[in-house]
Every structure is written in structure tokens, then in C-alpha cells.
């Protein structure tokens, strides 16, 4: 039995939830971009983000994670996904689990039950970060402008995820499909990223998608 204080952090009383990009009014910009945009941005907001830590070398840990999530622990710099759930390597003993909004409480319980007795940590970080999905033929151009990391498909295949420097700050870049990339951004940097991406993608045409 865990002594961790696990509780439902998502209010179910109808309280208004706003993403960290609420002020940017992306909803008001939907469909106002160019006709053939080079880059399409979509805010994946209010998802459940859980930071999972444990001993990767312990077979019981890997087995417990598989039992709770149905996903294998990803190795360094990679990302595994099943439907809307993804598990990403963040460090040798740290993973980020992203589940559809509202499921994080149940998933945390399932993880704690499956990993009972092990030296682990599960922390709900949903409020601190969110995903921005970039898709389109010119996304790689935008990334190349913004980061020193090599985003050529030879070095950055689909399923790879790296934390790196981006513009004047840091974030995590995830390659989820051929022309689709995700940026994992910190809440307090949301405005900065939004403005940066609008500026960087302007020459290719930026469209906002719901």
C-alpha cells in the first residue's frame, strides 16, 4: 500500500479549464491562415501528463509498466504509442506518459497497483506542460531554423524524441509521423513558443487547426 497522496487533480465540478495558450486565442485563428499552408499547428491541450520514474534495469518494473499500460518501456531517445497513449524516454530512469485528458487519475492508480512495493515515483505534471502538434511539408524547415539538433530523417526517424535547445529555450521534440512532429512545451513558455512559431512559420504559411 502506498503512502503517496494520490488524488483526482482534474476538477469534475464543471470548473473552467484553460490551456496555457488560452491567451493566444488559437481557436479564433482556425481556418484564417493560407490556403496551402506549409505548416499546420494544432494544440493538444488538457491531456494527462504523468512522469514515471523507476529502475529500468529491474525486470519487475518493466513488467509492471507493461501490465498497467500495455506498452513496453522505450529505450533511450524513443517513444512508443498506442492509440492516444504515449510513453516517452526522458532519461535513464525517467519516462513521460501522456494519456487522454481525464484518464490520468485511473492510469496513475493502475501504475501504482502494478508497481506496488517497487522504488518508483509517479507524478501528475499535466498542469505544467502541453503538446503542440506541427504537421505539413515545411515543418522540418521551421525546426531547422529553431534548433541546432539535426532533424534530418536519417538522424531523427519517426518514433524518436529528444530534449534539446530550441530558439532561446529548451523543449522536447517528438517525431510522431512522417510530416508530423510534436513539441512538448512548458506552461510558462507557451506564449513565447506560440509567437516564435508564428514568426518562424510565416514564410511557409501557417494554419491553425482545431
Amino acid at each position: 500500500m502506498t503512502t503517496a497522496n494520490v488524488y483526482q487533480q482534474r476538477p469534475d465540478s464543471g470548473a473552467k479549464a484553460e490551456s496555457s495558450l488560452h491567451q493566444a486565442n488559437l481557436a479564433g485563428l482556425i481556418g484564417k491562415g493560407r490556403k496551402n499552408p506549409g505548416v499546420t499547428v494544432r494544440e493538444k491541450k488538457l491531456l494527462g501528463h504523468l512522469t514515471l520514474r523507476g529502475d529500468a534495469k529491474d525486470p519487475a518494473f518493466a513488467e509492471g509498466v507493461h501490465k498497467a499500460l500495455g506498452l513496453e518501456l522505450p529505450v533511450a531517445l524513443s517513444l512508443v504509442a498506442k492509440e492516444d497513449t504515449s510513453l516517452q524516454w526522458m532519461g535513464p530512469d525517467e519516462w513521460l506518459l501522456i494519456v487522454p485528458g481525464g484518464q490520468e487519475f485511473a492510469v496513475e492508480h493502475a501504475l501504482r497497483a502494478a508497481l506496488a512495493g517497487l522504488h518508483i515515483s509517479v507524478v501528475n505534471v499535466s498542469g505544467g506542460q502541453q503538446l503542440l502538434e506541427l504537421s505539413g511539408p515545411k515543418v522540418r524547415e521551421v525546426l531547422m531554423k529553431s534548433t541546432s539538433y539535426d532533424v534530418h530523417p536519417d538522424n531523427f526517424p519517426v518514433g524518436k524524441a529528444v530534449g534539446t535547445v530550441f530558439a532561446k529555450s529548451q523543449l522536447v521534440i517528438r517525431h510522431t509521423a512522417e510530416d508530423t512532429w510534436e513539441l512538448l512545451i512548458r506552461r510558462s513558455f507557451s506564449d513565447y513558443w506560440c509567437l516564435w512559431l508564428q514568426d518562424a512559420a510565416a514564410e511557409y504559411g501557417l494554419n491553425v487547426e482545431a
Binding site: A76, L77, M90, G91, P92, S148, Y149, G163, T164, V165
Partner: protein
């Protein structure tokens, strides 16, 4: 721009993702209460400042956020190796004199 090999990520990354955190291999005294002021002061504040090979602690702050060790030449800035904390460096200053001794011994035999 330098590329530094992160032993946790397993690939070369640009220098701007890293942060140097000073001298490596400084064990904390097992019983701090038993230390003299001089010993504790040495542990706390005194660091080597060599001209040549230096074993340093680095942090991959923008990537995996893990610490690792690096052997760097403070004169040329050449990074000879990076290795996990808890393991021993391959390149050390002592290694050079040892090889010369070995050569001399071999020479005497010959």
C-alpha cells in the same frame, strides 16, 4: 561548435545543451562530524585547477538532465572521453608516466 557525447543519450549533442559543474570524483566524507575543519574545508571549497587533463562533472541540462563525467584538456579544450558517474576514466595524468616507466623497463631488458 563542440559536439559532446552524452553517455546516457548515446549520441553526440551540441555543446549548448550541456553545463559544466566543476571537478568530478569528490567523495563526500562518510562521517562529516569526524572531519577536522581543514578536511571539511578541503572537501567543501578547494578544487584542483590543473593545466592539462581534468576530470569534470557535466550535466546534459537540455536533454536527459543527467550528470556524467568528462575528461577534458584545459589547455586545448579537447574532450578525450565522457563516462558514467561511478566508473573510472580511461585517460588519466598518471597514465603517461606509467607508460614511460614501462618503456624504460623494457629498454633495460633489451
Amino acid at each position: 561548435m563542440l559536439h559532446i557525447f552524452c553517455p546516457h543519450c548515446g549520441e553526440l549533442r551540441s555543446e549548448e545543451e550541456f553545463h559544466a559543474s566543476g571537478q568530478a570524483h569528490i567523495p563526500r566524507p562518510l562521517d562529516p562530524g569526524a572531519c577536522t575543519d581543514a578536511e571539511w574545508g578541503d572537501y567543501m571549497f578547494f578544487r584542483d585547477n590543473p593545466r592539462g587533463l581534468h576530470h569534470e562533472l557535466w550535466n546534459h541540462v537540455a536533454g536527459c538532465r543527467q550528470f556524467f563525467n568528462a575528461t577534458r584538456n584545459t589547455v586545448t579544450y579537447e574532450i578525450l572521453e565522457t563516462y558514467l558517474i561511478g566508473t573510472q576514466p580511461q585517460f588519466t595524468e598518471q597514465a603517461a608516466p606509467l607508460t614511460t616507466t614501462a618503456t624504460r623497463e623494457q629498454g633495460e631488458k633489451v
